[in-house]
């Protein structure tokens, strides 16, 4: 390394790296991406300015939304490129080494585990399925018992209003229970079609342009490891799973590099 001026940012670990593919993508700060090889494993890496990526500085940069987005997108861009040509293990954002020799040591140390996981991931990709529900799908009353369909003759306006409110609340509870059950059903169904499944935290609707406008709530945020040749079928199954559920839609994303499955078959 060049006299402490640079550090090494690592994106992904893979068995084989084609430099021609790496030439087509730029890394953090626009830096060229290169291979750091140790035994049968390679890391896709690039050099970053050591001062700009010290622990304190990096931490601070990540609290700046614009900087965080740039780093995350650059990290993801390289991982996505590497994963198009060979099975790849994405690294979590923010692993920086003082030099390439330290990267090689890491590869050597975890070689058995990485090799196992790469074999498991070969020919597979991650598919994301987000299931959204409109607010009215959560509050819809049970059949035959409309919230406003129970006049209370003889009662004062206040009492009737309270009664109606109670019905609305009961209907909302039922709507939520139905929505939670629907999310569990869909996840179970899709898990059965996938090699492995993971659930992410539901996202805030504000992070999604469409859901933000329609005030939808995310019922399910799942990732599914699917054989590459079955991606289309899986996406169709995800859409079919929400068909006929009023006010519920599925947003299918991917194929993704196997971020959610980088911890191997035993991960949760």
């Amino acid at each position: 390394m060049t006299a402490g001026a640079t550090a090494t940012w690592v994106y992904a670990v893979t068995g084989e790296l084609d430099q021609a593919v790496l030439d087509g993508v730029s890394g953090i700060g626009g830096a060229p991406v290169r291979e750091v090889r140790e035994g049968a494993l390679s890391a896709a890496a690039s050099s970053v300015d050591a001062a700009a990526f010290s622990e304190d500085t990096l931490q601070r940069r990540l609290t700046e939304p614009g900087e965080l987005e740039d780093l995350a997108r650059a990290h993801h861009r390289v991982i996505g490129t590497v994963a198009t040509t060979a099975p790849a293990l994405p690294l979590r954002l923010g692993a920086v080494y003082t030099g390439d020799s330290r990267v090689r040591a890491m590869l050597a140390q975890r070689q058995p585990e990485f090799t196992r996981t790469l074999a498991w991931l070969a020919g597979r990709a991650e598919c994301g399925v987000k299931v959204w529900a409109r607010p009215d799908a959560l509050t819809a009353p049970a059949e035959g018992r409309g919230a406003a369909a129970r006049p209370e003759p003889g009662r004062g306006g206040g009492a009737a209003y309270l009664s109606r409110r109670r019905d609305e609340l009961a209907a909302r509870d039922q709507g939520r229970q139905r929505a939670a059950a629907a999310a569990a059903d869909i996840h179970e169904l899709l898990s059965g079609l996938a090699v492995a499944a993971r659930q992410h935290q539901p996202q805030d609707p504000a992070a999604d342009p469409q859901a933000g406008q329609s005030r939808e709530v995310m019922l399910l945020n799942g990732s599914y490891l699917v054989d590459a040749g079955r991606m289309g079928d899986f996406a169709a199954a995800a859409q079919a799973a929400v068909t006929g559920r009023g006010g519920v839609r599925a947003d299918v994303t991917g194929p993704w590099p196997p971020y959610s499955f980088a911890d191997g078959p035993e991960g949760s």
Binding site: E55, L62, L68, R172
Partner: protein
């Protein structure tokens, strides 16, 4: 719908993981929370990242965790929980108003029945 495989090429090998207009939330939840953790010489503190992510309002709550704990996770939805707060306040005001109505209501109406308003109104959810 923005599924890449609905794009011109149906082949996974060609559409796979090419740079796609993935949402920032989808990317962040993966690069910050998934992927292998390695012992870098410099590593971002994961706890801070978690707090950061929450601060960015990308996460509301975990369905599984909430179910385990018996919590209604929709309460964490800002829109719904503020509606619930409004409702509690509305119920309180209604109790007061109904109380006034009953005490001052004309004798030919409203006196046939004295609904147990405070008791029932205290049950915002069944």
């Amino acid at each position: 719908m923005t599924q890449p495989w609905n794009a011109a090429s149906g082949s996974m090998t060609r559409t796979a993981r090419r740079p796609e207009p993935a949402s920032l939330a989808d990317i962040l939840e993966r690069v910050l929370d998934k992927g292998i953790v390695v012992a870098g010489d410099i590593r971002v503190d994961l706890l801070d990242i978690e707090l950061l992510t929450i601060r960015l309002r990308l996460i509301i709550a975990s369905v599984d965790r909430a179910r385990e704990m018996g919590i209604d996770w929709w309460e964490h939805d800002p829109a719904l929980s503020s509606a619930a707060r409004d409702l509690a306040e509305e119920n309180r005001q209604l109790r007061d108003r109904v109380g006034e109505l009953e005490s001052g209501a004309p004798p030919d109406d409203g006196q046939r029945e004295r609904p147990a308003v405070p008791a029932t109104a205290d049950r915002p959810r069944s």
